[in-house]
Structure formats: structure tokens, C-alpha cells
């Protein structure tokens, strides 16, 4: 399969490296509006061709799949061009700036019989996949409540670069930095919520020092969301304060609970105790210890087999998407789910803004 990447910023490296790990995949070209950005990616990652003209790249290389790793404000226009040129598109999150654009992109893809995959890669990290598998197998029972927590370090590699640059595109998103990230925890909880449109409650806070006097001070750095759909609820926390930074998922069902850490790549189930009286505590504690040992051994095995890759979820999502484009499997993220996350992002930031100033 011939892959091209549009947008040569930091995340493009991961897309190129992960795509190349998949058999039969060739990264044929990169493209960026800035010549230096396109050239640096091609030179460092040994990509045979680099472009600043997207249409020229599409016509000369006719890629099967185009990865779009540009700022979200350009996803729709680039996606339309790539799809019109016959390519399927893998689009970094958030899929577009707003639901209206998402609908336009999905309809355009449907009309041209191409597939769109949004980069909700954390939903394809092993613990998240295992949690969904347990749900599908019926072990969790009916979902009562789901929680997802995402921490973000404003002084980290990405955070530091964003906070050091008032002109960074992230600050121009309707919801600023959390707008660029909240799709990750959303993508973890949405598969557990059924088909009904959830009701949304959301509150945003600015808890970091307001020291720039520009748009870097504008967005919320802590967001709490509560969703209700049918008999299930979901709570999402996005926080720039929580340490250690992590992504975690908890699913509480009518039969069992599942606690997953995407950081340590571990998963623990909590089943009802069967022992009598005070022995219940011992039984539960022993189960925790047994599961912790099993998970540790599993991660050691994963390490020895080179499965503890940083972008493991991205690689798995790409594999499933590439297979779907060849008709060899279902879409890993159906259009309906991508649309629902897009709608939820709009709703969350609208409610955060509306609730601003409320006690």
C-alpha cells in the first residue's frame, strides 16, 4: 500500500514510523505547506519524495491512503482533496473543528466510496482493547458507569512547545489545548455508552497561572464532563494538574468492573467476592495481587517481544484501518462513532463556556 503523509510536524514522525512497521506498506511521499518542514521529514526519515503542493503530490504518487497530520482547521479541505484523488484518509484527532465539518467530510467520503479513520489511537492501546473485549464477551454485564481520566503536562515535550508559542495553532482551536486532546478520553468511554445520544454536563476551569496576557491564557486546563445515555453514565476528567500524567479507564458493570491503565498497559478486573464475612477482604486482596503479578509478567513478556511500543495503539488502529480499506475487515472506528465524538466535543465546550462564572 502506498502511503503519503500531509503535515510534517511532531506527530508525523510517529505516523511514518508506525506505518512502516506494517507489512506491504510503503511511505512514498510527505507534504507540508512549508518547504523546510517537508524536507526535514523526508531527509531524516528517508522518505523518497517531499512536496509543498498537495495536489501535485496526489497526482504524481496516487497514494492509497493519505495520513493528515496538519492542524485541525485544515483537515476538511485536505481530506476532501485526498478523497477526491482516490485516497482513503487517516486523520489525526480532532477529526475536524466542529460537527458541521465532520458531517461534510464523512458525506464526501461516502459519496466517493472512501473510508475516513480518525486517530483515536489510545482506544486501540492493548488495555482499552481488552476492556472492550471483556464488555463484548458479557463478563462486565450491563455498563452502569464509565470513567476516563487524562492528564496533560504543560511543561512536557508537546506542552512546553505549545505554551512557549502564542501563535501555536492549538491556541486557535475553539476549546484550545483540551480541544486537541479530549477526544482521547471520549474515545475510550463512547464505545460503552450504547447508541442513544447522551445528555452532557461539562464544567471547565482555568487553574494555571494566567501569566501571558494572550490567548495562551484563554482555554480551560481542567474539564469535567458527565454524560448520561440510557442506563449508563460516563465521567471524563481532563486535567493539567494531575501527576503522574496518565490515561486511565474504569468500567463499572452489573457483573464485574474493569480498571485499566494505558500508561502501565495493565488491566484489572474486580469480580464479586464469594468468601464469607471478613474473608471477603482477603479474597479480594489476593485477587488483586494475583492480577498484578499476572499483568507484570505479561508486560515483561511484551517487553521481551518488543510489544511495549509508545504508539502501540496507533499501529493497531492503522493495521485495522488499512485492512478495512482492502475490504478485509470492518472499519475500526465507524463513521457514526467518529461523528458522535465530534458532536460531544462541540457540546462539551459549549457547556463549559455557558457554565463559566457559575459557582
Amino acid at each position: 500500500m502506498r502511503i503519503a503523509v500531509v503535515g510534517c510536524g511532531q506527530i508525523a514522525d510517529a505516523h511514518i514510523q508506525e506505518a512502516r512497521k506494517i507489512d506491504g506498506v510503503e511511505v512514498v511521499a510527505v507534504c507540508d505547506a512549508n518547504l523546510h518542514m517537508a524536507e526535514q521529514a523526508a531527509l531524516r526519515l528517508a522518505v523518497p519524495a517531499s512536496y509543498t503542493d498537495l495536489e501535485r503530490m496526489l497526482s504524481e504518487h496516487k497514494p492509497d491512503i493519505v495520513h493528515i497530520t496538519t492542524p485541525p482547521a485544515t483537515h476538511l479541505s485536505i481530506g476532501r482533496l485526498a478523497i477526491a484523488a482516490g485516497a482513503h484518509v487517516y486523520v489525526e484527532k480532532p477529526l475536524t473543528l466542529e460537527l458541521r465539518e465532520t458531517d461534510e467530510l464523512l458525506e464526501w467520503a461516502l459519496r466517493h466510496r472512501r473510508l475516513v479513520c480518525v486517530g483515536h489511537n489510545h482506544a486501540f492501546d492493548a488495555p482499552a482493547l481488552r476492556a472492550r473485549e471483556l464488555f463484548r464477551s458479557g463478563l462486565i454485564g450491563e455498563v452502569v458507569h464509565v470513567e476516563a481520566m487524562m492528564g496533560y503536562d504543560l511543561t512536557g515535550a508537546f506542552g512546553g512547545a505549545i505554551m512557549g508559542d502564542a501563535n501555536h495553532w492549538v491556541h486557535g482551536l475553539p476549546g484550545g489545548l483540551p480541544h486537541n486532546n479530549i477526544s482521547h478520553p471520549l474515545s475510550l468511554v463512547v464505545p460503552f455508552l450504547g447508541e442513544d445520544a447522551p445528555s452532557v454536563t461539562a464544567v471547565g476551569r482555568r487553574l494555571r497561572p494566567q501569566r501571558f496576557g494572550d490567548r495562551r491564557d484563554d482555554w480551560f486546563d481542567e474539564i469535567r464532563v458527565l454524560l448520561h445515555a440510557g442506563g449508563a453514565s460516563a465521567a471524563i476528567t481532563f486535567s493539567c494538574r494531575v501527576r503522574p500524567v496518565q490515561m486511565a479507564l474504569a468500567v463499572y458493570g452489573t457483573r464485574q468492573h474493569v480498571l485499566a491503565s494505558l500508561e502501565s498497559r495493565t488491566l484489572r478486573t474486580v469480580a464479586p467476592a464469594t468468601a464469607p464475612g471478613p474473608f471477603r477482604r482477603l479474597q479480594l486482596a489476593r485477587r488483586d495481587a494475583v492480577e498484578a503479578r499476572r499483568e507484570f509478567r505479561g508486560r515483561v513478556r511484551d517487553f521481551l517481544h518488543a510489544r511495549l511500543q509508545f504508539f502501540e495503539g496507533m499501529n493497531e488502529l492503522m493495521r485495522q484501518f488499512y485492512a478495512a480499506t482492502r475490504g478485509e475487515g470492518p472499519e475500526p472506528i465507524p463513521a457514526s462513532e467518529a461523528r458522535r465524538v465530534s458532536w460531544l466535543i462541540d457540546e462539551i465546550f459549549e457547556r463549559c463556556r455557558a457554565a463559566e462564572g457559575a459557582p
Binding site: C8, G9, Q10, A12, D13, Q17, K21, N34, H36, M37, Q40, A41, L43, R44, A157, G160, A161, D165, A166, N167, F212, G213, D214, F303, A306, R307, L308, Q309, F310
Partner: protein, 343 residues
């Protein structure tokens, strides 16, 4: 009027200070919008009779913003550059940011554009051990094999040279060695790698191409102000550079007793080969800590010459190396004591 970019940084602050001390020129500093840096405010207060303007603009800035920053400017000293981060992030800040400034400089028809480069951009892999590195040593042929910072500085200098060659940018390149001074980290990659609380000492008996920040600022002021200087390049390394081993010993004695494992030169290539194999085998799960190419470029015994800067610019490192190291170690020890107090 002299414009200084990166004026709030470690080197930039010293450049502004030295311009105030050694010239009568009005000075304009490009600062990030919304900032009012205390260090520059203090300098302005110290020199009340001098023009020291703060001009808000972040690179890459739109052409119009840079045109206004360069209004009335005859000389630019371009210090600003990304220091840490991924290669794309550093290229975006250092290369893309600089190009906007090169273009504005051409429109402003400057007398001189002084670019702060890096002595790391030389092709040292091709040199034999013990060779001398000077301004005539070719540029790195494989910048993509080097660390992100060197990669971005190489591309920045290459681009500046293209602007000078093709469009007449009045370019003077000043390539400092490793800049030391108060608050600067001295256990740099050329000395070794710090991991798991240990120092993997790789520099051995190699002499470190250090320059003290104030000496380096002196060289930049000379490059900006010396009359009848044409397109030229200067490597800035202080005299009497210490060996890596001396630095580690002094650091352990004066700052903190960091556990250190010295790796003999002969072991570098086999370990690097093993690291590269593990990286390939694990599809990137095991990162490349150092490569064989690093061993051939960074941890090699070389002599860095400062003859050209001395003969053409008339530069002499005013602060001797012993004193420069004393000041650096004192500040690092102070920081270490502060850490202990807060802990």
C-alpha cells in the same frame, strides 16, 4: 540600531549587556509578545541614558511585524533558536523562524546579519583523531544522523548561506562551542550521558570546546560592530579547554558526587552497535542512546581552533578558562544547595 533576537536567553542577555558596555549604538530586543523580561528591564535601568527597546514579535512572525522590528536597524544579531525538543519542533522554531527574519533583513537592506551558529555543524566524522577543526572544515554531510539540535542548526546555517549566496544577505556566521557560565549545565553530551542517576562518561581525555558566555558575547559584539568585515565565519572556543575527565572530577568534587561510569573509547563502537541492533530488533522500543555515528562525531579527540576569531575579529577570551569554570561550578553548586534546601 542593532537588533538582538533571543535577547532574553542565556547568551542573548550577555550580548545585550556587552553591546551596552562596548558600543554606543541604540539596541532593540525582539521579545515574545506579552513578556516584559526582568533581566532586560534591569539592564535598561542600569543604563538610563541608552536606547534599549523591547519589540514584541515571536519568530516566525509575519513579514509586516518583522519589517517594523527592523525599521532603522543596520545590524541584526540573531541569537534566537530552539534548544530542546523534537527535530520537527526545532526546525519549525529555528529554521522556519529564521527564514522570515532573513527575508525581512533583505528588505531592510542591512549592513550586517550576524548569525549565531554552532560548532557542532562540522563534518567531524570524516576527520582523523587529533585533527584540527576550524572554519575550513566542511559542514556535516549527514545532519540527519545527528541530534535534533545540531540538525536544526545545520539547516539554519545552510539556509542562511543560500540567502547570502543567492540574494546578498550580508552574513557573518559566529559558531560558538559549548557555552558555559552561571546556570549552564556543564555535563553536556560531549562529556557523557546521564541516565538512571548515573553519568556514562564518554568524553575521556578529549578536550571540551567550551566558551564562556561573556567571552562568546564579546565575539558576537565584535562580529556585529567591527568595521569593514565582509562575509566571514568564526568558530568561538576559549583558550585552554579542559578535558572531559577534568570536568567530571571537578563536578563530582564541587557540585555533587554523581556516580560515573567511564567508558573507554575502544568500547564505544561495540556498545553503539549493540544499541542500534536492539533498536532495530525491538522496532524502536529500545531507544538509540548513542549511535556509531555519534561515537565518530561527538566523542572523538579533536582540536578546535579559535585562530581566525583572534586574527580577524581581534577577539581574546577576556575571562580565562579557570575562572569561567569556577563561576560555572559555583552557580551549579548553589543550585544544588537550593535543591537540597527545598527538598
Amino acid at each position: 540600531m542593532i537588533l538582538v533576537t533571543g535577547a532574553t536567553g542565556f547568551l542573548g542577555q550577555w550580548v545585550v549587556r556587552r553591546l551596552l558596555e562596548r558600543t554606543t549604538s541604540p539596541i532593540r530586543c525582539l521579545v515574545r509578545p506579552g513578556t516584559n523580561p526582568p533581566a532586560l528591564r534591569a539592564l535598561a535601568a542600569q543604563w538610563p541614558g541608552r536606547v534599549l527597546e523591547l519589540h514584541p514579535a515571536a519568530l516566525p512572525a509575519p513579514g509586516q511585524a518583522l519589517d517594523s522590528a527592523l525599521d532603522g536597524v543596520r545590524v541584526v544579531v540573531h541569537v534566537a533558536a530552539g534548544k530542546q525538543g523534537s527535530a520537527p519542533a526545532l526546525v519549525a522554531s529555528t529554521v522556519v523562524g529564521s527564514e522570515a527574519l532573513f527575508q525581512a533583513a533583505l528588505r531592510a537592506q542591512l549592513d550586517r546579519f550576524v548569525l549565531v551558529g554552532s560548532v557542532g555543524v562540522h563534518d567531524t566524522a570524516s576527520l582523523p583523531r587529533g585533527a584540527t577543526v576550524d572554519e575550513d572544515t566542511p559542514l556535516e554531510r549527514h545532519p540527519e544522523r545527528r541530534d535534533p539540535y545540531t540538525f536544526s542548526k545545520h539547516r539554519q546555517e545552510t539556509l542562511a548561506r543560500a540567502y547570502a549566496r543567492d540574494r546578498g544577505l550580508p552574513l557573518v556566521v559566529v559558531r560558538p562551542g559549548v557555552i558555559i557560565g552561571p546556570t549552564a549545565e556543564i555535563l553536556v553530551t560531549r562529556v557523557g550521558l546521564q541516565m538512571f542517576g548515573l553519568l556514562l562518561h564518554l568524553g575521556g581525555a578529549n578536550r571540551m570546546p567550551f566558551t564562556y558566555v561573556a567571552n562568546c558575547a564579546d565575539a558576537l559584539v565584535l562580529a556585529a560592530t567591527r568595521p569593514s568585515l565582509g562575509a566571514d565565519t568564526f568558530n568561538i572556543i576559549d583558550d585552554d579547554p579542559p578535558t572531559s575527565r577534568q570536568i567530571v572530577r571537578a563536578y563530582r568534587a564541587r557540585v555533587r558526587p554523581v556516580p560515573s561510569i567511564p567508558l573507554p573509547r575502544i568500547a564505544l563502537t561495540p556498545i553503539a552497535r549493540l544499541n542500534e541492533w536492539a533498536n532495530r530488533r525491538s522496532q524502536g522500543q529500545v531507544p538509540i542512546v548513542f549511535s556509531r555515528y555519534d561515537a565518530r562525531t561527538i566523542w572523538k579527540k579533536l582540536v578546535y581552533s579559535n585562530r581566525r576569531a583572534k586574527s580577524v575579529l581581534g577577539w581574546t577570551p577576556e575571562v580565562p578558562m579557570g575562572e569561567a569554570l569556577d563561576r560555572t561550578f559555583e552557580s551549579l553548586a548553589e543550585r544544588q544547595r537550593d535543591k537540597g534546601r527545598f527538598a
